[in-house]
Symmetry: C2
Subunit: 478 residues, 2 copies
């Protein structure tokens, strides 16, 4: 058993900072900016060779209610409505005060990213599964790296260092249980664990845990959900692991919702990792198309239900299901799918007959399902699954047809350490751990049993900013 490090283990400190941010994703970089602007000396440590991690490979979608775009388009939305959507998807497990904090600050965080950081967003708005109205925005290039680049540029402008290849190892506590510092490993190389050396960093104000989730940590995730063995792929980078979370539990942080692990329903078994398929599935197929069982060719679910519902429906079929859209849906959605077509993850077909024979489907059964679905689109009412027929939807009848096999992958870990609305980490006894804050996927409780698509970046920016400001103002003298 690893014992918690105390001051007795630290004859000297190698470095000293007011605030140390662990992790250079959306949450950590937002925290660093705010901590600096609140007057602290700040360093961000990041184990990889570049900032961004999972944030960079995300689609860069962010949800916010009552935005200018919504007003322009006459879309009625409110923090309350977004709150209800998040809690419904979360099956009520969400911490009310944390959801409230996210929805009340979502629009402000979105605007901050555009106005202060200079993030460019595509001038459009989407409605992902589980959201009652269109309230999801995509960063330029449909990638989180657009946001990460602006965050990194802002930190450069502010003179805040991001120390790459610096892996967090251990917390050091003083005799009162306050965070006194950390041990990190400089020169970390995930391919050569002997490279580099440990350094100790004295922390004068606070540490912000912004280490993300553990979707790629097979040992830890399968301890929480034994189905998630190494046989299940993940959309995460291979470095989304649990070591920092484990260290935080070791110093008695309260674990929250660790077994609630989200599978992305829009993933393809025909490529590794996140890949190119999900953009087509999420932005075109689920919005305008239909998802059928390879056995019966019948639809299996409201394609616009939340991720848990859609992923569970596919898993219940027991093998990859087939998603189908058409050229008109693609045009209507406005998304390019060249990369998915080039990789062969999405396939074009001139006729439903070709599509059926490619996937070994019963053509007559498929035609009958498509006709039935099309009648729902025409009637603006899906009497089978109550899918909302979104504006601009048309019958699936305009070739080429685009199809994709879908099989879920581990995508997001809703659980983490307990935080309060001030991003303070709460311990087993219900007390804040002095000098420790957490934000983003490392914290649990915001999303309950199921995170809605595009709510993670909102969560990361809102709580990252709160954590950074709080960390900077911890009244601890050097």
């Amino acid at each position: 058993m690893k014992q918690v490090l105390t001051m007795d283990d630290m004859p000297h400190w190698d470095r000293e900072e007011d605030v140390v941010i662990i992790g250079a994703g959306f949450a950590g970089l937002a925290a660093a900016i705010e901590a600096h602007n609140a007057g602290a000396s700040v360093v961000v440590i990041e184990k990889m060779r570049a900032a961004g991690g999972n944030s960079s490979i995300s689609e860069g979608g962010i949800a916010a209610p009552k935005t200018e775009i919504q007003k322009r388009l006459g879309i009625e939305d409110s923090p309350d409505l977004m709150y209800d959507d998040m809690v419904k998807a979360g099956l009520g497990l969400n911490y009310p005060s944390l959801v409230r904090t996210v929805v009340d600050h979502a629009e402000e965080a979105f605007r901050w990213s555009a106005e202060y950081l200079g993030v460019e967003y595509i001038d459009r708005i989407d409605q992902f599964g589980g959201h009652s109205v269109p309230r999801c925005y995509a960063a330029a290039g449909v990638t989180g790296s657009t946001i990460i680049k602006r965050q990194v540029a802002k930190l450069q402008e502010l003179g805040v260092p991001i120390r790459l290849r610096t892996r967090f190892e251990r917390f050091v506590l003083d005799s009162s249980g306050t965070i006194a510092g950390i041990v990190a490993h400089e020169g970390y190389d995930h391919k050569d664990t002997h490279a580099g050396a440990d350094v100790s960093i004295k922390v004068n104000r606070a540490v912000v845990l912004a280490t993300g989730g553990f979707g790629s940590d097979v040992a830890f995730r399968s301890a929480q959900d034994p189905r998630l063995t190494a046989d299940i792929d993940s959309t995460n980078t291979p470095y989304a692991t649990a070591e920092a979370l484990i260290e935080t539990l070791r110093i008695q942080a309260m674990p929250v919702h660790l077994s609630h692990i989200q599978l992305g329903p829009w993933a393809s078994p025909d490529e590794k990792g996140y890949g190119a398929g999900p953009r087509f599935a999420d932005y075109t197929l689920f919005q305008y198309g239909l998802l059928v069982s390879p056995d019966t060719c019948e639809r299996i679910v409201n394609e616009l239900a939340d991720r848990k519902i859609v992923a569970d429906a596919i898993l219940a079929i027991g093998r990859p299901c087939i998603g189908i859209a058409d050229e008109r849906a693609l045009q209507q959605s406005g998304w390019a799918i060249d990369r998915a077509l080039n990789k062969g993850v999405v396939k074009p077909f001139g006729t439903l007959s070709d599509l059926s024979s490619h996937y070994g489907l019963d053509e007559q059964a498929l035609r009958s399902t498509v006709e039935r679905f099309n009648s729902f689109v025409t009637q603006q009412s899906d009497t089978d699954f109550d899918k909302p027929i979104i504006e601009g939807a048309a019958p699936i009848a305009h070739p080429p047809y685009y199809a994709m096999r879908l099989w879920p992958k581990v995508h997001h870990t809703m659980g983490g350490v307990r935080i309060d609305e001030g991003a303070r980490v709460i311990d087993l006894d219900g007390n804040a751990i002095p000098g420790l804050f957490a934000a983003g996927e490392a914290a649990g409780g915001v999303h309950g049993a199921c995170r809605l698509g595009s709510c993670a970046i909102t969560d990361c920016l809102v709580f990252g900013r709160i954590a950074g400001r709080s960390a900077a103002t911890v009244g601890k003298s050097a």
Copy 2:
């Protein structure tokens, strides 16, 4: 923050034992018997004034496959079928090796309780929700206290002491992280926290954590499921709290499934705690009767689905639902309900008309629902909810009608500390904590997202026995 106690904190020990069992419920007492029989000196400590706790107030139902009664009645069953039932209810979150251990040793544990302990079981067999076949047996008097009394008597016969009013407080670790002893509070009085005094107990072999669940611990349970505030009642004794679980997490046990907290769907809002209603609901109403919405008078669920499904269905209605059976169902089930009738929790009605007006139901709608349900019983096929029509079921048409309001209460906490199939407690890093075992509700992973009725006692006896035997043989010298 409470620091972990080490040998430095222990200038001397007040007591010394080979094996200390914490908690005098089904699991702890089974562990004590086996530890003694394996040659260890054993003491059981129990915080309350009597042994039994939640175990004593349970209905004493135990599930096992391939029993003599099943053979006599020609019921085809197997450990594999019970495994499948448990994993289906658990939504696949169960640890396969733990479920395997329970089902493979279930019949042996059931027989041990009857033959070695002398527990009397009623000569009948029941099929609770989520079980594919009848495999549930009830201890005489339909109460867990029948089993507890035999366990206590056996320990007296063996000369193993149960120290009552002795509350576990803290673990003490040696420098290698092995359990060296514990601190307990003797003379504990839940009404007077100043009573009594701490004593230290040196442990030569091992400690068995058998402290049960945390269903009555509002702070801890609502940290895991924020819906479970003080407004939600529990079937547990008020002393089913998390303090020992917290101490075990403090020494770095891996938390498993803590947010999976079972609500009993058979509970009545018209009485406190477990009460008298559940026996009627579980043994008569769910088996033979029907459960309707107070709004539409329509059935809401397969009454024989597992607890999570039925409880979620009631919660989705938003107010207490009405369960209805009749005299013939009561006779067929063979259960007396005098106490529930005397308390007014179950009410008799001469006609459906009287029943409707008492609960403010739409009589015509109710009659139509009952007729439809009765046609399913006659046809032996429920085309609405696919409820299995069990042998001896007849149309609900024989007054008096018996009805009860149902609203879920916190009943069982599936989560706890991680154990392996040897009942060893596993830490955050995946290693066994030397000298620590856990069994019963204190351990997580056996039941996944939802425990089937009557599987808890099986779990407690199987893993209690394993933990006791293992604890006694830890090769640690005094």
